[in-house]
């Protein structure tokens, strides 16, 4: 078990390096660089070259990568050109904001998605499962950009909720936490609704499969109430595919959503990464991508562990016997 764990962790580290390296290289290959923006404005080519030198953009790709890697080994991930701050400080700050959003969305999605999935999956037909399914499909076929915009539009029309942002400029009566929660509703719904739909679909499918299995039929025939089987026995068995994606979902959520964060002005990792991408802030891109990779690696690990708990048959540690 320890060995397995260590190996997975080592791989996670490798993944982070590989992904941030790839991002750095790709960012350099994309046309233009951080100083291009100022070209053709008030800056002469000479000043431009000086600026380039200052940011280390005049180095060859190989050189730049080597220097970055060497620094990264000392946990120095370079300076963001745009913010003039170390990437190491910037990323955790934004990642924390994204984590708040991710957590809220996850709780929301789980509390709504799983029960609905059980309801729709345990019955073959009927009005309620049909409606649940239709709603899920609507949510899944809406682009996140449109969902976020629509929620903002509703917030603006009703005037109930703030339109984007994370905190009010002045802490309103009721305290900072209440303020944060009010700001959280729209982005969390924008991230959480499609997620709830996804969980509902997965859970429903797994549920309907389990319901058809012999052990359920057998329990039913022993006279155990159907609802009890659905909510106790089958539920656990049906968690398997959900558990398989759950960690992944957490990882993806933590690496931030571009569309939702930008539209709702949530100062998270996705927002930061998009900014970095746009301005070719290569070290920041590498940092953001690395952070995303880290979360995802942890997420997959979590998923595998959860799977082992829910379904001991698939226990990873047993695989080590070979």
């Amino acid at each position: 078990m320890t060995w397995y764990f260590a190996r997975r962790l080592a791989f996670a580290a490798f993944l982070v390096i590989a992904v941030s390296s790839a991002s750095l290289v790709l960012a350099r290959l994309a046309p233009g660089d951080f100083v291009t923006e100022s070209a053709g404005t008030e800056i002469s080519r000479q000043t431009l070259e000086q600026q380039r030198a200052r940011y280390g953009l005049n180095k060859s790709l190989g050189e730049q990568y080597r220097d970055w890697l060497a620094a990264a080994a000392r946990l120095d991930f370079g300076y963001s050109m745009q913010y003039g701050r170390p990437v190491r400080d910037l990323v955790p700050e934004r990642a924390a904001n994204t984590a708040i959003l991710a957590l809220a969305a996850l709780v929301f999605a789980t509390l709504i998605g799983l029960p609905l999935g059980i309801i729709s999956g345990s019955r073959k037909s009927g009005v309620l499962p049909g409606m649940i399914r239709a709603t899920s499909v609507v949510l899944l076929s809406m682009p996140p950009l449109l969902t976020s915009l629509f929620l903002l539009f509703i917030a603006a029309r009703t005037g109930w909720l703030p339109i984007g942002g994370m905190h009010s400029a002045i802490v309103p009566p009721g305290g900072a936490l209440a303020d944060l929660l009010r700001h959280l509703v729209v982005p969390a719904a924008a991230v959480g609704l499609p997620l709830a739909a996804m969980l509902e679909r997965l859970q429903s499918q797994a549920m309907s499969e389990v319901i058809g299995e012999p052990f359920v039929l057998a329990t039913l025939s022993r006279g155990v109430p159907r609802s009890r089987i659905v909510w106790r026995g089958a539920f656990k068995a049906a968690l398997r595919p959900v558990a398989a994606v759950y960690g992944l979902v957490i990882g993806t959520l933590l690496s931030g959503s571009f569309a939702v964060e930008v539209i709702t002005t949530w100062p998270g990792l996705g927002n930061l990464m998009l900014q970095a991408l746009r301005s070719r802030d290569v070290y920041l891109v590498a940092g953001c991508a690395g952070a995303g990779a880290l979360f995802l690696a942890c997420g997959t690990l979590l998923s595998d562990l959860a799977l082992a708990v829910v379904d001991p048959r698939a226990s990873e540690t047993r695989a080590e016997r070979a």
């Binding site: 682009p143 398989a244 799977l307």
Partner: protein, 335 residues
């Protein structure tokens, strides 16, 4: 019953896509200068004074150009022209009063026409890419789950790598190395490959988990004991148990790919412009917040997407529950 509905929806979508040139009243790039964001033309049967006529429409008259407000010009009835000029239905006065069943977009192009032609592009791309992702994902996931050990590890970590790589960067880098102008078929091939590769890991992870746990079930052990070859065991016995999962994945991937096409068009990897696609239509629509209050017809690709995904969902889901029972029975019999 619901499966029938699903089949109807899917068939309907396919029919619309195939018959687009005949069903659509206009060409995808035909635009009507004075009708930017014009609302759908309503087909009337009765005029203002209550007199009944063969189906007709009224011309839209521009009330405010800057605000794009229109009103019906009740002075002249414009008849519909059926089965003329290779189209099922058009207005008899296409120049002044085009038939805009779903209104016009911000360039004054017929949304209905673009929706039909867009079905070809978007559905074709999404289905191709989803099938590709399923094929790659199921094969690799199945092999990984079946073989286990180092092979499993390497494949799964490779899948993780693909999943966390910022796809938008890959697209930007590709944009940089590819020629600036790509033909529609090149774009199609490119996008389908990207989507298939990006989508495959999600499928692979699930399939692997299922194969892995199924493998230890009695029927699999028994089959192995009875001398079934590895390939037979994997493809005949284990993978079919992931069918349900794959069906759901299909219903998740198709809408995701339709939407993703719009995102890639944002970095310059989209279809060249006169070619309509649902993703780009929605992307264009969401650039203006007025769409919800004033131009809801621009969201019709979302509605169309919903119907198609619902259809696919209903067909796959119900077919699967029959399969599950069938497989269950088969397994029991083998024991």
């Amino acid at each position: 019953m619901s499966r029938t509905l699903g089949l109807v929806l899917v068939t309907f979508a396919l029919l619309a896509a195939v018959a687009a040139p005949v069903l659509a009243p206009h060409a995808t790039d035909a635009h009507f200068g004075g009708l930017l964001n014009a609302p759908p033309t309503v087909v009337h049967f009765a005029d203002a004074s209550g007199g009944w006529h063969a189906p007709f429409i009224y011309r839209w008259r521009l009330v405010s150009q800057l605000e794009q407000r229109y009103e019906e010009d009740l002075s002249t009835r414009v008849r519909l022209a059926w089965f003329s000029g290779g189209h099922v239905v058009q207005s008899s006065d296409e120049g002044a009063a085009p038939l805009l069943l779903l209104g016009a977009d911000s360039y004054g192009r017929d949304v209905f026409t673009r929706l039909l032609f867009g079905a070809r592009t978007s559905l074709g791309l999404a289905v191709t890419a989803a099938l590709g992702a399923l094929l790659i994902g199921a094969t690799l996931g199945g092999l990984a789950g079946f073989a286990g050990g180092v092979f499993d590890d390497v494949l799964m970590r490779a899948a993780d790598f693909v999943m966390v790589l910022p796809a938008i960067y890959v697209a930007l880098a590709l944009r940089a190395v590819l020629p600036l102008v790509l033909t529609a078929s090149e774009v199609f091939g490119l996008l389908a490959s990207i989507f298939a590769i990006v989508g495959a890991p999600f499928v692979a992870r699930g399939v692997r988990a299922i194969v892995r746990s199924e493998r230890r079930l009695d029927y699999a052990v028994a089959a192995e004991a009875l001398g079934a070859s590895d390939a037979r065991l994997l493809f005949r016995h284990l993978l079919p148990s992931a069918r349900g999962f794959m069906a759901v994945q299909m219903t998740l991937l198709i809408p995701a790919f339709i939407v993703a096409e719009a995102t890639l068009s944002y970095v310059g990897l989209g279809f060249p412009d006169p070619i309509a696609s649902w993703g780009t239509m929605l992307h264009d629509a969401s650039s203006n917040i007025r769409v919800f209050a004033d131009f809801p017809w621009l969201l019709s690709p979302a509605a169309a997407m919903f119907l198609v995904v619902l259809g696919v969902n209903l067909v796959l889901q119900n077919r699967r529950s029959e399969d599950v029972r069938h497989i269950g029975v088969r397994h029991t019999q083998r024991l």
